[in-house]
Every structure is written in structure tokens, then in C-alpha cells.
Assembly symmetry: C2
Homo-oligomer: 107 residues x 2
DNA sequence: AAAATAATTCGATGATTGTCGAACCACGCG
DNA sequence: CGCGTGGTTCGACAATCATCGAATTATTTT
């Protein structure tokens, strides 16, 4: 008998594959910018997706996290029924120095 | 007899009116990013719109400059038949410190 | 086993966007 | 004056995007 353990995983692009335009695009939506800022405020702690306060449906929320993931900005990992999200801080700082600071300061 | 001297002018938003999302949005297009980089390379010298090399039609070009202008990134001024474009460098550096450096470094 | 929880996937829909050609306007020059 | 140059404006069109509800999957709790 064969076993196949199915675990949901997420694909994260390598940093060097990421274009600045993609990052800008991802951050051009107020919801997504809010998500990133929340993560910045969490000081490195990973957040469950639903921990981020947003007035949008589950589906839309999932979509925004997907976009941020594809843009290389966040990292997602399943943990039981929750999915824990964190910023790819050090990588972003290496690839796009100043970006996170810009976002944190901005307003 | 009444005179009405009609001169084409451009409206430029004040810096404090500009949201980071709008800036990100404007820079999320490869053409527009290329324009900004060209201006960065011009070291403060204002460029005529058509001086920027782009494989797009006049109409599209005009559109992109309009978007950049609305986002507060460039400043445009008529000069005879040409329109001269320059970066709003110091203002951008004040409002969004690190942004221009990010764009210049990016790749 | 059933219920509750957390999140993704799947259409669908309406809005925004990038692109273009064509028409247009203002200026400077012969 | 008429023409060329530089740029804008106006539809139009296709593509992308944000948003949602409903169906679905996986896990934990009861």
C-alpha cells in the first residue's frame, strides 16, 4: 500500500527573480500595504492571516496574501489549520535596501 | 475688448497630498519606471518628453507622463512647443526618503 | 463521527489600466 | 499663410484586477 502525505505548501520566488515593478505593483494596493505595515509592527513575529484586521472577505484576503507572496514580500507557512505569515525582512533589505523603511515611515 | 491668454499648464499635486500607494502604483509599470530612471540619469537636467527612448506611441507616452505627474513624481513645464520634464527630487526625498535611491539602485 | 475553524479555489462581475490610431491644438518657421 | 513638430484628448479595445459568495479542503475540537 502506498502513502501520499498531502500537505499544503506555498511557493515562494527567489529574491533575485523579483522585479522592482512587481514589488511596487504589490504595494500599490491599500489593503496590501496595510498588511505589510501590520507585519512590520509585529516585529518579526509571524501572524496568522486572519489576525490582520481588514474589512474584506475571506476570499479577497486570501488573494492579497497570494499577491504579496508572489511578489516575494511575505513568507507563508502552514501551521495546523492556520497559516503563519511573516515578512521576508532580511532578503528584502538585501535586494531592495530602504524599501521596508520607506513603507514603515510612509503616510 | 477682453483678452484671454491661453497657455497650456499642468497641475501638480502638493507633496503632502500624495499617498504612498499612488506612488507605488505609478512606478509599477516598466515604461514609467524607465522614464524615472532616465530622469535620474539626467542628473537634474530637464528632458523633453520625446527625449526619453520608449517603444510606445505618442498617446501612450503622454498617458504615462500624466500618471507620473499625478503621482507627484515629475514636474512638467511648457517651453515653446516642447514640454520639459524633471524629477521632483528634493520634494520626493523629503516626503519619501530613500525612494529615489531605491529606484536608482534597483534592477 | 460530527462540528467548528482557517484558509484556498472557483466562477462571476464591475472597475481600472495600457495600448493605439485618429483627430486636434498650439507654436515657430519658411 | 501653410506646414512640420511636439504634445494632448478622445473613443475603443483587450487585459488585468479587486471583490464577492459559494463550494471545497484540511485540521482541530468536541
Amino acid at each position: 500500500m502506498a502513502w501520499c502525505i498531502v500537505v499544503k505548501t506555498y511557493s515562494h520566488p527567489a529574491m533575485h527573480e523579483i522585479a522592482l515593478t512587481a514589488v511596487m505593483q504589490a504595494l500599490s494596493d491599500p489593503c496590501r500595504l496595510a498588511i505589510v505595515r501590520e507585519l512590520l509592527g509585529a516585529k518579526g513575529r509571524a501572524l496568522a492571516c486572519n489576525e490582520v484586521r481588514l474589512n474584506i472577505s475571506k476570499a479577497t484576503r486570501s488573494h492579497h496574501f497570494e499577491v504579496l507572496r508572489a511578489a516575494g514580500i511575505i513568507h507563508t507557512k502552514m501551521d495546523g489549520t492556520k497559516c503563519m505569515t511573516s515578512l521576508r525582512r532580511s532578503e528584502l533589505n538585501k535586494r531592495f535596501p530602504g524599501l521596508l523603511k520607506l513603507i514603515a515611515a510612509g503616510n
